[in-house]
């Protein structure tokens, strides 16, 4: 035990001597949480659109006014031909074009029917659909208002309640996701070079000559990083709750416990990478390039997992952030308890054990 503590102290010295790295490690997550927490959202607002008004009458003017007043759209162009619309799309100036036909008002008055054409830049299919849905609803509202007091018979009304997130804030989804991503990457990156560095600088022999068991040696390397990661978790949680207005509807102890478990998983993942690589560069490449995009895409906060093809759904299970994201979302936002998330907790725990076992195995081989 004493020897273990001495080793831990040595590792602490190593890390704390490098002030610049420490500053970077503590400042990065704070800056990232703030930038992403405020900037990322998948709601649509102020999207630049074009309107081709072929009618130029009272009704079309009213409709345009309505569209401009909605927070979704900003009219930046009034083209006269389809060619001009095509040009604006190609130069990436607009995302949607609305075409109002000639005699719009007359048709509405005399035939009681008029048509409007929406052209969307479907390069981004998601934005295109969303814009079409929103433009459609603004037009429907306009029509309902224009019809005034006339109420159709046999009407079904819909009462819609948005659970958990009545204001539809993007932060409720993105903050837990970004939190998981930052914690995983920073923690894994820190430990990923810890052992391979010793190999590269040839200090490994000295370590191996020590009387400590390999497992203890590995753990002593992880302890200081654990402390650093815990500080990071605390700042991230404080920022989420105070500045980004994320609720903690469930138990705060459960949240903290899960964060602690997740850091352990991430640190073990880093240790494993460190044990299976031969150079710092390879280790960094794997831990940064190899983890960043798969974590981002497969953890479920950017793209719904149920939309993925089945093999991808299966693959997403090996991404630790996926499980962390589910737990945090359930506990913090939905306010659920341990009973609802124990399965996910068990999976994270299993992953940790797996990573540590591999690290230990690989490490032992080098001893012989």
């Amino acid at each position: 035990m004493y020897q273990f503590l001495v080793f831990v102290r040595k590792e602490f010295y190593h890390i704390f001597r490098d002030r610049k790295s420490l500053l970077i490690i503590f400042a990065l997550p704070i800056a990232q949480m703030l930038i992403f927490g405020f900037a990322l959202t998948n709601e649509i607002k102020n999207t630049e659109i074009a309107i081709m008004d072929g009618a130029n009458d009272e009704a079309s003017h009213n409709l345009i006014e309505e569209l401009n007043a909605s927070r979704y759209f900003e009219i930046v162009a009034t083209p006269n031909t389809i060619d001009e619309i095509d040009k604006a799309f190609k130069a990436d100036e607009i995302k949607l074009a609305i075409i109002i036909p000639p005699q719009f008002k007359e048709n509405l008055l005399h035939n009681n029917s008029a048509s409007i054409q929406l052209l969307a830049d479907a390069t981004d299919p998601n934005t295109a659909t969303t814009l079409e849905v929103y433009a459609g609803s603004v037009i429907r509202d306009y029509q309902n208002n224009a019809n005034g007091a006339f109420k159709l018979p046999y009407t079904i009304t819909n009462e819609i309640r948005m659970l958990y997130n009545p204001q539809l804030k993007g932060a409720y989804l993105f903050v837990p996701g970004v939190m998981g991503m930052i914690l995983l990457l920073i923690s894994a990156m820190m430990t990923s070079i810890s052992i391979v560095r010793e190999k590269e600088l040839n200090t490994m022999e000295i370590l191996l000559a020590s009387p400590l068991k390999p497992m203890v040696l590995i753990l002593s390397k992880a302890v200081p990083y654990m402390v650093i990661s815990l500080i990071n978790v605390s700042t991230i949680l404080i920022i989420s709750v105070t500045l980004l207005d994320l609720p903690i509807n469930g138990s705060i102890f459960l949240v903290l416990g899960v964060c602690f478990l997740f850091i352990t998983t991430a640190l073990s993942l880093g240790l494993m990478i460190s044990n299976i690589t031969d150079s710092q560069q390879t280790a960094m490449f794997i831990s940064l390039m190899g983890l960043m995009l798969p974590t981002l895409i497969l953890s479920g906060f950017m793209f719904p997992i149920e939309n993925m093809p089945v093999p991808m759904q299966v693959l997403s299970n090996i991404v630790p952030t996926k499980w962390f994201f589910i737990i945090i979302k359930d506990v913090m936002i939905k306010g659920l308890g341990f009973n609802s998330v124990w399965k996910e907790i068990l999976i994270l725990f299993g992953m940790t054990v797996f990573f540590l076992t591999i690290s230990w195995r690989k490490f032992k081989i080098r001893l012989e």
């Binding site: 709601e43 999207t47 037009i139 046999y154 009407t155 309640r161 993007g170 390039m289 995009l293």
Partner: protein, 372 residues
């Protein structure tokens, strides 16, 4: 010139001597490009419904049939009470609870109107909102049908109706791979380019070989060029592999001129390598270089317009994206691949990236000189 060639040979030898990293440089982007675009689809579909039908009438049955028949909804669960249904939302098994109240049919006919209630899981606000809109659209259609059954509609609509037609340009099949593959390729290229160059020079610092170079008669610009050119070439290879995968695996053939992509990439890689160089002159160790790269890479990726729309960001965040090279390349890539945009359409972005290339490289060289 001869000196430069000598340095280049040395750099290439150094890269060749480490086949593990070389394999990773080419394999990792290729594998990720093969796998990840398949998962990147956030179209709102397969909305799971949990139904609480307290009416059990022919009308409520008809509504359920209509919902189930639509391409968006799956009736996942039928619950007896709202509280029970809430459980399936908590377990993420359902996205929307539709409650059909008792006397739904009777009220509609006798009282001339009735009310349905929708409870939406809005943790993902945008998805909840769109899912609810789909449901409301279907309910409205259904409502219209019922009216037509109950009353003989006059030939001309009693009230003015605006018909909205939709057409989706450039991607009529609404394909997500067409949208994602070029974007993910840009990100992978960005990571390889900036990360490699950032690590490389700082590695020389860490193992002390940079002192040898500093005392040799090599000029600084020769040294920098010697570092840049190999990575520039590696970048081109990664891009070519990526475009090949896009072409042969995903069947994506650029509508526009592929030469424009290479032209843009040439300047873009210079800018990235400049960023990498700058990071490596600031960082003292490979670890620091890695963390700084990570920081910028996250911002470049998450604020590059691939995942969330830049238009919707607050103004200060949009200002940040002006300095994000990834944003410009993703835009240009999509413009060329999908919209057949011309040189004049991309010239503005090309100019900005060109300026970035000059600024970052100059900055890096100046910074590097000061340290020696």
């Amino acid at each position: 010139m001869k000196m430069l060639l000598v340095i280049l040979r040395k750099e290439f030898q150094q890269i060749r001597r480490n086949p593990a990293i070389l394999r990773i440089i080419f394999m990792m982007p290729a594998v990720q490009l093969l796998v990840l675009p398949l998962a990147a689809d956030y179209e709102v579909k397969n909305v799971n419904l949990c139904i609480v039908d307290q009416d059990h009438s022919s009308y409520s049955q008809l509504l359920l049939t209509k919902l189930a028949a639509s391409e968006y909804f799956i009736i996942k669960d039928v619950a007896d009470s709202y509280d029970e249904a809430l459980g399936s939302i908590e377990k993420d098994e359902a996205d929307i609870i539709l409650t059909i109240p008792p006397h739904f049919e009777k009220d509609l006919i006798k009282e001339n109107g009735s009310e349905l209630s929708l409870a939406v899981n809005a943790v993902n606000g945008a998805k909840g909102n769109i899912g609810a809109s789909y449901a409301v659209n279907i309910i409205n259609e259904y409502n219209q049908e019922i009216r037509e059954q109950l009353i003989t509609m006059p030939k001309v609509n009693p009230v003015p109706v605006i018909n909205v037609t939709y057409s989706n340009w450039y991607n009529p099949g609404m394909s997500y791979t067409l949208f994602m593959v070029p974007g993910i390729l840009v990100i992978l290229l960005t990571m390889v380019g900036s990360f490699l160059s950032a690590l490389n020079i700082v590695h020389e610092k860490e193992v002390g070989t940079i002192e040898q170079i500093n005392v040799s008669p090599i000029k600084k610009y020769q040294f920098i060029l010697g570092k840049l050119i190999p990575f520039w070439i590696i970048g081109f290879i990664v891009l070519t592999i990526g475009l090949g995968i896009a072409r042969f695996v995903y069947g994506i053939i650029p509508e526009g001129n592929i030469g424009l992509i290479y032209l843009f990439a040439a300047v873009y890689l210079l800018a990235l390598l400049g960023i990498g160089l700058l990071i490596s002159t600031i960082a003292e160790s490979q670890q620091q270089a890695m963390f700084i790269s990570f920081f910028f890479m996250m911002i470049f990726i998450l604020m590059g317009g691939l995942y969330t729309s830049i238009d919707s960001m607050p103004y200060w965040a949009q200002v940040i994206t002006w300095f994000n090279p990834v944003k410009y390349f993703i835009e240009v890539m999509r413009m060329i691949v999908m919209k057949d945009s011309s040189f004049s359409d991309i010239s503005h972005s090309l100019l900005i990236i060109g300026i970035m290339a000059i600024v970052f490289n100059t900055w890096a060289v100046l910074k590097y000189r000061k340290r020696v």
